[in-house]
Subunit: 435 residues, 2 copies
């Protein structure tokens, strides 16, 4: 290898006075990394040890973030919604409506106590490593000009959710809006009240059977039942299985995987699926094809909680890639009340990391200059608690901002279409090179 390296270096010096790595030298260096790879059996034994460690660790460390006693204590201060079955949600609605009816009969009219979902009420809790909603409620009385309309909309949404649960079906937010366009006016209003109702009932939006559209796909060493149908994800071809929009119809999750590989983009997913990467290194591969949707986040969390596997992430080396990781890990601000059910803490950043660009000698032409907006987003991320907590992440982000360079996963294709699956990922796994 060192011989190859020397030759590559000499060629680069001879051909160019520039310091930028040239394609030919970079390519031969990249090829030389192949010889660093130990036999698969050796890499697999490392992975097995890691998977065992992950499954044995305490729930908080393993990031399973189920509601523990500790959570319950602080739950007095912030809203925690949880998955509830239809019967439980229905009886919660019944109780709310009965209370309203009693209040009306006693001559006091009715009012809903609605948790405030304002930005000022959303905080990041380092202990829990996620964004949560503080407990602060405001009254929504019907007998008040300012709130009469919203109280009506709230009552209507409660009744619609009740109907959906009774029928045992699932609907989209759009469906909900169209059932009473005259009252709701526009969808933003019914959507907002739906989130209110989630907080009021203390249950997740999926428990209300109102689902988001699906975007994600999964392949690999995983079997589960989707609405009773047994799905074997090693037998889903190159296309993969679409992640179901209604997580509560997913059951019987089983796997012999050693880790979960979370991929930002479709193209990398396709490469991994076609090369059946999961047969060489037993894993579950999933992608939301960009910005993660609710269904994919719920699905990942279910896998993590039930299988207790390490989650390794493969994203672009740019601030947007890190943002996507933050959504998976800490949740998005406008769904903060549901962060416990939507987030998967303890995701490891495998690559492509800013330091990889030099380490793997990604050719200068395959790197892109960061735009002003990229730099702004990058600087903002440096201020985020979830980044600050991880020293390795801070360093990487600082490297990115210093070099002002970004790169896509696809940049690895400059060393050959299958470099990702044949060299880059196996070497990463062998070296346990994630942070």
């Amino acid at each position: 290898m060192s011989e190859k390296k020397r030759r590559a270096g000499a060629a680069a010096t001879a051909a160019s006075a520039s310091k930028k790595p040239r394609v030919s030298s970079a390519a031969s260096y990249a090829e030389s990394l192949r010889s660093k790879l130990r036999p698969d059996a050796s890499i697999l034994s490392t992975l097995r040890a890691l998977a065992t460690a992950a499954s044995k660790s305490k729930p908080p460390a393993a990031g399973s973030n189920t509601i523990t006693a500790e959570d319950d204590l602080s739950a007095k201060n912030y809203i925690v919604v949880a998955d509830q079955d239809s019967t439980s949600v229905t009886s919660r609605i019944n109780r709310l409506v009965l209370a309203a009816a009693r209040s009306i009969l006693s001559g006091e009219g009715f009012s809903f106590a609605v948790p405030s979902r304002a930005a000022s009420n959303q905080v990041y809790l380092p202990d829990l490593d996620r964004i949560v909603l503080l407990r602060r409620e405001s009254a929504r009385p019907f007998a008040n000009v300012a709130t009469a309309r919203k109280a009506t909309v709230t009552a209507r949404v409660l009744s619609l959710v009740h109907a959906v649960l009774r029928r045992g079906i699932h609907v989209t937010k759009r469906d909900l809006f169209y059932t009473d366009v005259k009252l709701f006016g526009d969808q933003a209003q019914s959507d907002a009240v739906l989130d209110d109702v989630s907080c009021m009932l203390g249950c997740t939006r999926s428990s209300l059977h109102v689902v988001a559209s699906e975007k994600g796909v999964v392949v690999g060493r995983l079997t589960f039942a989707d609405d009773g149908d047994r799905i074997d994800c090693t037998r889903m071809g190159v296309g993969g299985k679409a992640i179901p929009p209604n997580i509560d119809r997913v059951s019987g999750i089983e796997s012999d995987a050693l880790f979960i590989l979370l991929v930002e983009k479709d193209a990398a997913f396709m490469r991994l699926a076609e090369d059946r990467f999961y047969n060489r290194f037993p894993c579950i591969i999933l992608t939301a094809k960009g910005q993660p949707d609710v269904a994919t986040r719920l699905f990942l969390r279910r896998l993590k909680v039930e299988l207790k596997l390490p989650v390794l992430a493969l994203v672009d080396s740019d601030p947007y890639g890190l943002k996507i990781l933050s959504v998976y890990m800490c949740g998005s601000k406008n769904m903060s009340y549901d962060s416990a059910n939507l987030t998967t803490p303890d995701i490891k950043w495998l690559g492509v990391r800013p330091s990889d660009l030099d380490k793997y000698r990604v050719p200068e032409q395959c790197r892109l200059p960061m735009t002003d907006h990229d730099i702004k987003v990058g600087k903002e991320l440096l201020e985020e608690d979830f980044v600050k907590q991880n020293e390795g992440w801070v360093k990487e982000l600082e490297t990115m901002l210093r070099t002002r360079q970004k790169a896509e996963i696809q940049a690895l294709s400059s060393f050959g279409f299958q470099y990702l699956t044949e060299v880059y990922l196996p070497l990463k796994l062998q070296q346990q090179d994630w942070i």
Copy 2:
């Protein structure tokens, strides 16, 4: 029913002087349509007769648009690319390169003959009912300042495609770009040359093993093999099976469906999947979740050609819904050279049609006013040959433009979340109400 109708009408008159249908009357009318439904067995026998007729009709009428002798004749005038296996594409590349080498050795340098893909060269052929590319080639000599760069890029793309085919893998356009960023400069250039290469070799882009990302999903009475894995689409839960990006890995298509239901949107797809509509009326349900991607178009065409089933479309009642139909049926302009392989003619417009809004008394509040842009697109569609050919479509589009109203499939939710699957679609099928 007439009693119900009278009551509903009376209620409407009593309650409101406005002519607009009100929610309550519309809802009771909508409910009354349920009684119009004949037993499923009767609807099924109609569908069976239609499916038999479709499978027996001549290829052009059935819209199977495989390359027939007739096509071959006119093919002298326009470019027809066809699916080719790897061996055939490889030998075509070899021939091109050998010709270039001979030309260089004889001292004449080399030049590629590249079909022009300019807009002026793209025409709609009524006989074939699709957009095609006229045969008009331009030379791309290497020994010319204006074309030297493009000739080099063309040679490089040919060599990359050759490498991909030799390895028997599939890559994305983005992968291709990243293998030589320095030469290609930006992806638009490698993409454009890739289309050139497709035309030059006379084969589809999927034959080059360069695939688009997948977006579509499918459920229902269909089994096929994806990269050798047997997929039963009645056992894909609510999420469905992701349509594979590489159509040439799809084989062994089998089905007992009576028709294919093409759905514009994810939400309607989810409703149909959850209600297992395909078990009541045997069908294959697919969606590209909006604007159709290449993978979904290729997949639909394969189903249509191999299964010879009628294709019924469920899209929004707006110009955009019709645009989507046009892409499935006639192709998009920038892929005109590949229209024979990407298009599925003879798709029937089942709904939601502008005339349905009054016929099903969709409440006024669930209809949306058309924007100026909508109206412009609608008027442009009226000038399109593929619309003009179908009198029914012209009438519907004129109705839309006259009333200046549009509506989404979801508008039917105003009559209940399952109205789509329980009343609207069964009634449409019973009445053979498509055009």
